[in-house]
Symmetry: C2
Subunit: 179 residues, 2 copies
DNA sequence: TGGAGCATGTAATGAGTTACATGATTGG
DNA sequence: CCAATCATGTAACTCATTACATGCTCCA
């Protein structure tokens, strides 16, 4: 009885990826064009969650298709603003309450170290030194920023960065004996 | 004079991505099939640099095209082993000495917190608690592993994991007041 | 007034994950 | 012997980056 084996295409709330959700979040206070969104994401999310322009356009197009967002009519060809729809607001709220996925931590240096048998000690030392310097510099710049921020998510994020860089430096200094 | 505007396609050493390089590294001690490589990568690189089977096959095919690796003749259809070529060994050595790229750290929880204004406090607390538990569990399992390892890259990697998880927990407890 | 830079967007490519397919092995 | 599992590989899709294109504005 093949006729009984169909699958109902149940409606399910459009699943958001993190990037799309972030865009919806930014659209909550008013329509923005792709370019403006991209700039807003850079400013608001900064280094810790990068979103490229291409992603913005891709996600906007996709969300327009699923009705989470609506293109506003606008001037001749450029500056096409998009507004969040009620469905979009709901999708955003749902996303906010979903369990966040696991952290992604990918450290190219670690991969090189894994094959460290093939790395001569001098070069290894050089490598470590240069990487360490980068982390130290980042830590310093975070520490400069930090006092300027009031309480809130921005500061929480920066604090994370500070703790991360400190942990990395300690690893260099105490576990990798690179100094 | 259009004829003068061609570009010479200069030869450049095939650039390796980290995944391809890791495979070459594993192939240094002898030919392996895609499946074996995938297993070897899982075992040797573990959680901290994941490589899926699909990636393995893609990279093997690409490297076979560029001559970094050569398909060994073998039994009927399955278990096609690949051997690293001299060019492959050189590419690997070069890669080892390149400057590693920047760390990628992507934390979905941070993105949610960034829009924390829209998150009611109860739910925020719940979110934090569940995330914190995951990190604590991972730290515990790392700490169990650690004493079993002799000195070497594996232990260095694990130490990194331990420091990372500790930093995250401290962030939860001291900066996010989640406990 | 023409070119530097900015605002806006598209295309091409790379990297990663998930789901699917298929023959061999093997334990109950 | 036959069902489960393993070994092997492929296909399709999503996500992310890099490079390219094009019109506008503004000031030297």
């Amino acid at each position: 009885m093949d006729r009984l084996t169909w699958k109902v295409k149940v409606w399910r709330a459009p699943v958001l990826n993190a990037t799309a959700a972030a865009l919806l979040g930014l659209l909550r206070d008013g329509p923005l064009s792709g370019y403006q969104l991209s700039a807003a994401a850079d400013a608001f999310l900064g280094d810790f969650w990068t979103v490229t322009r291409s992603q913005v356009y891709r996600e906007l197009a996709a969300m327009a298709r699923t009705g989470l967002v609506a293109a506003q009519p606008s001037g001749a060809r450029d500056k096409q603003p998009y507004a969040i729809s009620p469905a979009g607001r709901e999708a955003f709220r749902n996303w906010l309450h979903e369990e966040p996925g696991p952290d992604v931590v990918r450290i190219p240096l670690l991969l090189r170290l894994a094959f460290g048998d093939a790395l001569d000690p001098d070069h290894r030392a050089e490598l470590l030194a240069s990487q360490r310097a980068g982390h130290a510099a980042r830590l310093a710049s975070y520490m400069l920023e930090e006092p300027k921020l009031g309480p809130g998510p921005q500061r929480e994020t920066l604090r994370f960065g500070i703790r991360y860089e400190r942990a990395v430096l300690a690893w260099f200094d105490e576990d990798l004996r690179a100094r």
